[in-house]
Symmetry: C2
Subunit: 434 residues, 2 copies
């Protein structure tokens, strides 16, 4: 007997059906917004990730040398691949480019609740628009995905921030600040204690007083964002506030404003974000981590050798999203569903097969016996797959040109003329023959 590899999962049909339901809903919403599905490789050059994220990324990659001597890595995220694809066909692709895809990614990480070494994400990105409407469309498709799953505004909250507000505020201090380190400190604000947070900020170059003033600024109310530009005297902050407000205004038109809270202490850990960033949280706090996040990354395509191309996107991870759905009671029941089981008693295969074929041609899920089992074994199996209706094709009934139609929930059954099953009915049930 072989073991599964740690951090990797098998999905048996019941759980898989629930996962598929979620994936289908996410993709259906993306499709209605005009995002188009793409397909991407599982392996890329390791160098691509090193260039984007630094040497330290290798520690969490499944990387190796392939038989052709290439340094390759199992893709830990989609963004670099998508950037590569945009650059490869930049001239021919009409803009904006709107793409989505669902697939697994791999990171050698500590396994914990909602975090695996093989994990699934649906990535959604827009390339080629720097307008606030593109940011707002991303917020709107994210919100519609969650409401499509049955979640409401009581369940989740998008905490929206802007990288240029953070960096503009940091630059406005009379200090030699490592903005990247300071932004990382902000990203850790809710995850570490206050002392450690301030240590990180001072390590990034702020004095203790400046760190306190900076942190105070981050907690400004939404309707007082305008004061930040004046407070800091930074034009960059003023522009960023204006951009953030324009995004929220477009989100209002797109029906997503109600899910958004301005939260400047939301920073996103990744270095490549350049404008609006957001994270989705469980409103109850029961799912303690960020469910997913996204934002604007206008410099990446150019960094990958392409023409300057603004971009904004997000990627719900299915594990944390599943935790949120479960917490909110909208995770679908993990149970098989089957429309019909056609039960054979004696040598009735050809008649049973005719009925099975007719029902399948109407799109129904239909099983029949392929294991030469007894009546009882077949009925037990039909029960185990939650068959709604069992059609019993027995030798004796057939002598009278009849079959038996049984409703599995009530247990009621009745006979029906064999030639009349299914007849011209789209979805015959016990009631049609009783």
């Amino acid at each position: 007997m072989y073991d599964r590899i740690k951090g990797f999962r098998d999905f048996y049909p019941e759980e898989m059906q629930a996962r598929r339901w979620v994936t289908d809903r996410l993709e259906s919403v993306a499709g209605r917004y005009g995002f188009r599905e793409i397909g991407t490789p599982a392996l890329e050059q390791t160098q691509m990730y090193v260039d984007k994220s630094g040497e330290e990324i290798v520690e969490e990659l499944y990387s190796f040398e392939d038989k052709g001597g290439r340094d390759v890595a199992l893709t830990p995220e989609l963004t670099p691949t998508v950037a590569r694809m945009v650059v490869a066909k930049q001239q021919e692709l009409s803009k904006p480019i709107k793409w989505y895809s669902t697939r697994p990614f791999w990171r050698y990480e500590q396994v914990q609740q909602g975090r695996f070494r093989e994990f699934y994400q649906t990535n959604v990105d827009v390339f080629g628009s720097s307008e606030p409407d593109a940011d707002a469309e991303v917020l709107a498709v994210a919100a519609d995905m969650l409401t499509e799953l049955g979640l409401t505004g009581d369940d989740f909250d998008f905490r929206v921030s802007h990288r240029d507000i953070l960096s503009g505020l940091l630059d406005s201090f009379d200090a030699d600040v490592d903005v990247r380190e300071a932004v990382r400190a902000v990203d850790k604000r809710a995850k570490v204690d206050r002392e450690e947070y301030f240590e990180l900020l001072t390590a990034a170059g702020l004095s203790v007083d400046q760190a306190e003033e900076f942190d105070e600024m981050l907690q400004v109310d939404t309707d007082e964002l305008d004061t930040l530009a004046e407070w800091s005297g930074s034009e960059q902050v003023g522009d960023a506030v204006e951009n953030l407000e324009a995004v929220l205004s477009a989100a209002e038109d797109f029906g997503a404003r109600e899910y958004c809270t301005v939260s400047l202490t939301t920073a996103r850990g990744l270095d490549y974000y350049t404008g609006v960033v957001f994270e989705c949280f469980d409103s109850t706090g029961e799912v303690s981590r960020s469910v997913f996040g996204g934002g604007r990354y206008d410099d990446l395509i150019e960094g990958f050798g392409g023409q300057p191309t603004p971009a904004v996107g997000f990627a719900p991870g299915h594990a944390t999203l599943g935790l949120l759905c479960q917490r909110a009671g909208v995770w679908p029941e993990e149970a098989l569903s089957t429309d019909y089981y056609v039960l054979q008693v004696g040598d009735t295969r050809s008649v049973a097969a005719r009925i099975v074929g007719d029902l399948r041609s109407r799109g129904h899920v239909v099983e029949t016996d392929v294991a030469d089992r007894s009546f009882g074994a077949q009925m037990g199996y039909a029960d185990s797959i939650n068959a709604e209706t069992v059609i019993i094709v027995g030798e004796q009934d057939l002598e009278n040109d009849e079959v038996t139609v049984k409703d599995m929930e009530s247990g009621d059954q009745t006979t029906a003329p064999v030639d009349d099953v299914p007849g011209d009915r789209e979805r015959p049930t016990f009631d049609d023959f009783a």
Copy 2:
């Protein structure tokens, strides 16, 4: 600019849409037969493949040592994983177990037409029935998948054989035959010249005369299969012929017999098959390789440490299947489709967003401007995504409470009251307002 890894592919939206159409159809048929989707890991222990296929398999694996010191491999096929999953929950799973899944696999192979290092398959398997009906159900679901794609009996042919006929015939010779090697020789019969084929058979232990007699036996007509048992004097051959005929008889009831030709020279290369095997071929021969194949493998689960569990399955590879579909002219057009583009002229976003939302809530694919573009640029974009209908929301029209509805194929356009778009129409078009 980064390069894609050799043998790996990017799928842009047009091609991906065609691929998704094919995948959806394959999975829809599997679902109607009551096969249930499972989800499986991309990495497994390398040892699992070595035990099943021998040390030489490592040559074509993407295998490496992970950061925890595990010898792991990117999965080159699904069967060992599925066997592991069956063994892990053998007691609780109700039988027969009917599973399907679509996903990529990886082999370090020579790249050629229809063969890549990352390739996609839909695997379909039944565990827990040794009855001919299970083999026939596999043939039937395979045939229904192909006809669902628009292929007909003129396009493809299932060549059906039986491993026990081959091995029974081989055992009946007065010679020390390496059955495994001889079966591999048969599998190569159509791929090598006659001389090499006979060399392989004699290397496996047959004399030249015996090899010729054996090859003559393989070409027996379907209605003369019964003569083989007598000819060889082998009870195993007699039983296998009976089993093959029972499978074909069940396939007749299931509507798949018409696609099947008995072809004892079809052997399947893999060692683990134990009963009926089949390969799907392009009837015209234009796709020269086997499109896909499958068969019975009753010993694998026990070999993986489980209870003896008969099994039968198949796995269409999407690359060769695509070649067949293209040859037969049923490969879907690789073009985007879009129901509506809502074009904004001037500051009309809130009205446009209302119309967009109404149309999306009806399930349509709807795009609107998120890049603040000119009328011409938006119209060009709408054309590039093959929008069927463009709804123009212009400032001037709105002063009269009107929008313009344009049919993109004819170029016809008309105005419509803004409050009446979409109104209570499920799918409003130009004709509704003209």
